[in-house]
Amino acid sequence: MPLFFEIWTLGVWDFFSAMTLPLIIYRSLRQHALSTLVTAGSIALACGLLMTVWMVKEQAQSAFTNTTTGFDAVLGARGSKLQLVLNAIFHLEASPGNLAESDYEYIKHHPLVKTAIPIAVGDNLRGYRLVGTLAELFTGVEIAPGKKFTLEPGGRLFSADAKEAVAGSFAAQRLGLKVGDTFHPFHGLNFNPSEQHTDIYTVVGLLQPTNTPADRVVWIPLHGLQTMNGHDPKYATEVSAVLVQLRTPMAGFMLDLMYNKQGNRLTFAWPVASIVADLFSKIDWFDRVLALVAYLVALVAAAGVLASIYNSMSARRRDIAILRALGARRRTIFGAVVSEAACIGALGAAAGFAVYFAMFTVVAGIIRAQTGVVLDGRAGGQVLWLGPAAMVALCALGGVVPAMKAYRTPVAETLAPVS
């Protein structure tokens, strides 16, 4: 009877008699424990890599796209919208230039604008960006619906004219800052010990974690950064960018027209989320390359299952013939080998979660350290069940070729010598 017809006609009785299957599979896996472990290990790596690539991609895209820290737009010097957003919202990249105080005042009082908060950059504290701003950022702005900046107990906001600082939670942890500590700022966005300013600042408050890029920043009064010793007093009233909350969605279209299309001095980066999303669509090819690498690793791992079981078939011929002589049908043997391959896949997929959590933790840590964006490895995602299921299926498929070899084992000639 053709092989696949036999498989399709597997009856209920065969299923129950094949309840012996778990015993056969278990013993086979134990007998070949080393190759089982090695093969399952490679499956675990493949599965973990697949899940990590997908989850990091999904979460990073979502986290970056949804990180607006409560603002709809950024106004800055003429230049790239992406650069403006990366600089002002994510505290990455250099500012494309400065805005005059009058530009800030204009947008602050514009009827379409609800809130306008200026920021100034250009200094750092041992690699962590110093951002000058107004205290209003921490009291008047919702960084997410219903959520504002909150200070840790025992701290307060800085005074506008004082050399005081409030540290984001991540920066505070990494720099070992606590309330009462003092520090010298350093000039530039990158840490250079020789660029120390003579000003001395005092930490007066620590922010609670917001899981946004704001956690990586040390905040000081706008006036303080503008008038830092060593900065050119000519630019003492200029700002790097203005963070904008709009009164209505339509306001964005109108201001976009006004600054970007009709004007040529300033750039109005709006909407923030779309600008970041656009970045991800531009580097989509990179995601696909990473995904392809992950798929190839998975294929290689499944091929490893095929090779491992296939190579053991010669040693197992006798056992297969004995089982057949005891009454096991060819399709039971076929099912046992495919199931064994699937079990190895399942073992690997289960261990793959450990690999995934380890890899994800490392990658998320790097992303958080570099951008302040927080990814959550425990968040759900289709790939977390689809990936392992696909690996198990792929391994089962890899088991088909050795299963066919087992299926064709000639019983009589494989058993004891004929007399």
Binding site: S17, L23, R27, G327, R329, R330, S419
Partner: protein
């Protein structure tokens, strides 16, 4: 119980010539009966047993086992019949090395209509004197003990017919006698017919009914 008529089986030799190995006009064994077939190596005894067990398909002829025409069945049907009605004690025991004694016996019954019955498997092993070796692997058992596991396994599925192919070939004289007595006794207790093939005269002496295989296999004439 067992009725064979006009049975033919041939193989193609390495030189390409087809040679008839088994040609049996008539053969029968009654339910519960015990018969030993005498024959030297290479006379087709194992092939004959394999045909009766349904492991090999006959080229021609008829084998009727407990009223079922084995030769008219497809391979899966023969497998099922063998699992339900036949126990086989192989020449080299053919125990599964990766399974314990108990598991070997359980597997001997698993593919039959009653499925796995661990208590029954335990009973059988206790009956053959291995109640204290249930969890031992074949490599941890002596030759005689392995043979007893093979006997227990052959009876596991409550067969109507037990086929034994040179079951004492690997045993010394005292063990061989003991083993044959065990096989005969257990078959008798379970109402199973026994067909044994051997070239060992001392083993054959223990049977009331002994036939020369050359008398029934025309291919040897």
């Amino acid at each position: 119980m067992l009725a064979v008529s006009g049975l033919e089986k041939s193989f193609v030799a390495p030189d390409g010539v087809r040679a008839t190995v088994v040609s049996v006009k008539e053969f029968s064994l009654a339910a519960g009966g015990q018969l030993a077939l005498r024959g030297e190596s290479g006379t087709g005894k194992t092939t004959f047993l394999h045909l009766i067990a349904g492991i090999l398909a006959a080229d021609a002829g008829r084998i009727e086992l407990d009223g079922v025409a084995m030769t008219a069945l497809s391979e899966p049907q023969r497998d099922r019949l063998r699992a339900g009605k036949i126990g086989y004690i192989f020449q080299a025991f053919n125990l599964l090395q990766g399974h314990t004694a108990l598991e070997n016996v359980v597997l001997g019954m698993s593919f039959g209509p009653h499925g796995a019955d661990r208590p029954h498997a335990r009973e059988l092993l206790e009956r053959v004197g291995l109640g204290h070796r249930l969890d031992h692997f074949p490599s941890q058992l002596s030759t005689g003990q392995q043979q007893r596991v093979a006997v227990a396994r052959a009876l596991a599925n409550r067969p109507k017919l037990v086929l034994a192919d040179e079951p004492t070939g690997s045993l010394d004289r005292p063990r061989a006698k003991e083993s044959l007595a065990l096989i005969r006794g257990v078959c008798r207790e379970n109402g199973a017919a026994l067909l044994l093939v051997s070239h060992d005269e001392q083993a054959l002496d223990q049977f009331e009914r002994v036939q020369n295989f050359s008398d029934i296999n025309q291919a040897l004439l």
